[in-house]
């Protein structure tokens, strides 16, 4: 059961074998996606025809590598733009919420807190359609009463950003609140006592303390936004971000260029994940103190 208790060799081995199988199950789809990015074939499937880098750098039809595929590059650009906007917005609002919930008392606090958690329980598709309907209602209402066409409220980048922001903010709120809860308020009092104003104390002491959580939350936001599919699918206009473009190609049956994009995505995600772990570890060192 635990290493300190005697255990038969057979059952220990059986257990280890199960764990190994589990991790093969976890790794298999990711490994094949990566490996087939280099397959010298028009389809991401067997047989294996040897190694090629065409799916990254190829220039001729049908072997267009991702670095020369205008549509893919453009959609990466859209995804990046959306992710940056969503990250900045949700980290800002999440930080405000953390201070609000951890430091202030007001009537209806508990109700608002439950509402702030709600986006986690709402399926992404439904969040998408409700925002689609709502923005559409407003746009129609404005058009009918004022004759103005508010184009940004029609499916497109703006409402995609809003849709992703709507649920990602719950995550930033939770992460940053958790960190703020660990903050020893006597540090802020010490700053006041040493002559700092209220705002100076927050700026010089509390915000630097929250920084690891804000960066960590920001990275998670960025990735969640970049990889979001369900909500985005409902709100997307003509400028489709990467996941939507990939989905369309996947349904049509695509070349291994799709694997190449996926591999790049995995690498970037991995690097960002490592950064966030590193930031988190830094935070732990401070906590232990």
């Amino acid at each position: 059961m635990i290493p300190s208790l005697p255990q038969s060799k057979f059952s220990t081995r059986l257990y280890a074998a199960y764990i190994t199988l589990f991790f093969i199950y976890l790794a298999a789809p990711l490994v094949v996606v990566g490996v087939f990015a280099f397959n010298d074939s028009l389809f991401p499937s067997m047989p294996w025809n040897g190694v090629t880098f065409d799916w990254f750098v190829g220039t001729e039809e049908p072997r267009i590598g991702i670095f020369n595929d205008g549509q893919l590059l453009e959609s990466i650009g859209y995804s990046g733009f959306i992710a940056v906007c969503v990250t900045l917005l949700s980290v800002f609002v999440g930080t405000c919420n953390a201070f609000l919930f951890e430091r202030h008392n007001f009537p209806g606090k508990n109700v608002l807190y439950i509402f702030a958690l709600m986006p986690l329980v709402i399926p992404g598709v439904i969040l998408g359609i409700s925002i689609l309907i709502f923005t559409n209602s407003i746009a129609n209402g404005v058009e009918d009463s004022f004759g103005l066409d508010l184009d940004f409220l029609r499916p497109g980048l703006f409402i995609v950003i809003m849709g992703q922001f709507a649920f990602v903010t719950t995550i930033t709120t939770l992460v940053i609140s958790a960190r703020l809860r660990k903050f020893d308020t006597s540090l802020e009092e010490a700053a006041l006592n040493l002559g700092a104003t209220k705002w100076e104390a927050v700026k010089t002491i509390t915000l630097p303390f929250l920084k690891p959580a804000m960066i960590g939350a920001g990275i998670v936001c960025f990735l969640m936004s970049f990889e979001n599919f369900n909500t985005t699918l409902m709100l997307v206009g003509s400028d489709s971000p990467l996941t939507i473009t990939m989905f369309d190609r996947l349904k049509q049956g695509s070349t291994p260029a799709l694997n190449a994009v996926s591999l790049m995505l995995m690498v970037v995600s991995g690097v960002l994940a490592l950064i966030s772990v590193f930031v988190q570890r830094d935070k732990k060192a401070v906590d232990d103190e």
């Binding site: 764990i19 790794a27 202030h104 409700s130």
Partner: protein, 299 residues
């Protein structure tokens, strides 16, 4: 110390009736977020689901969309099927994930433990689209597993492993695994080894220790893991669309079809609302049964 706590406790009651300006300014982003992006859109969703289209931008209140749902077996069946499949997927995720979580939390120690735990998290960092794409490459007729089986001489020709309920399960369990393993590992981490040793010392068998000590202790983690996995599975769109059979629709696909393909927002909204309702009810029942709160679950 006690004076200090008492101080903050009583200061709270001093500020009951009025909201200070600073508090209000800080609350503004929260209120905008919740009202404009969560509360009002869902109220609008409810309104739209309760109306009937008479002509161009001309509507009347009606329960038609809900009646249609209950009278049309296709919709009804999809709904039930989605719920049942989600429950099955949740159960499988629990059964597969529990031994792994236990292994990480209790059996293995130190650096190896952290490494294994990190490896469990990796799929979460990779887009769901990429993961699903990986399964397609593995399972399709011209895929890796089919080729392997042929090479090993186990089958004569290519086999199509995609587009079945079993494939769908594999994909759903894969996608949800993280959300089961993380709460389980953290709850099992808090189980003191000496409790297991004591159980053994008092003559307990592996099975009885598991049933009477480990699982009761892990209950909060099991509950929150199951709730989250169920919610995610129910609301999943990508995996059923790409891996599932052509004739077996997932309910989210039904909603998508109503909205985007048939442009019937009224009935799409009704479906959306029903899904939200189902999800909330099951989450609520789950929380009540396990005596947890939503706030505990997301911790």
């Amino acid at each position: 110390m006690s004076t200090l706590q008492m101080t903050s406790g009583t200061e709270k009651s001093d500020t009951i009736p009025m909201i200070k300006l600073g508090t209000f300014l800080l609350m503004l982003p929260l209120l905008l977020w919740l009202f404009l992006l969560i509360i009002l859109p869902h109220l609008d969703l409810l309104t739209v689901s309760l109306r009937e289209k008479l002509g161009y931008r001309e509507y009347a209140f009606s329960l038609q969309n809900y009646i249609e749902f209950f009278t049309e077996p296709l919709y009804w069946n999809t709904f039930v099927r989605t719920a049942v499949m989600s429950i099955v997927a949740t159960a499988i995720t629990l059964v597969v994930g529990f031994p792994v979580s236990y292994y990480i939390a209790k059996v293995i120690k130190g650096k190896k433990r952290n490494l294994l735990f990190m490896m469990c998290l990796i799929p979460f960092w990779v887009s769901e689209l990429v993961r699903t794409f990986g399964w397609m490459i593995l399972l399709r007729e011209s895929g890796v597993i089919s080729s392997f089986l042929q090479w090993a001489g186990l089958v004569d020709g290519p086999v199509e492993l995609l587009y079945s309920d079993a494939t769908l399960m594999v994909g759903l369990v894969y996608t949800s695994m993280l959300f089961m393993v993380v709460p389980l590992v953290s709850v099992l981490d808090t189980l003191d080894d000496s409790l297991i040793e004591a159980g053994y010392d008092l003559g307990g068998s592996t099975y009885s220790i598991l049933r009477e000590i480990v699982i009761p202790h892990a209950m909060p983690g099991i509950a929150s893991g199951c709730i989250v996995v169920f919610m995610l599975t129910l609301g999943n769109y990508l995996t059923p669309t790409l891996l599932g059979g052509k004739d077996s629709l997932w309910f989210t696909e039904q909603i998508y079809n109503q909205f985007i393909t048939r442009f019937n927002w009224e009935s799409g909204s009704a479906f959306g609302f029903l899904l939200l309702f189902l999800s909330s009810v099951i989450v609520f029942v789950g929380l009540k049964l396990s005596r947890q709160t939503l706030a505990d679950t997301v911790k």
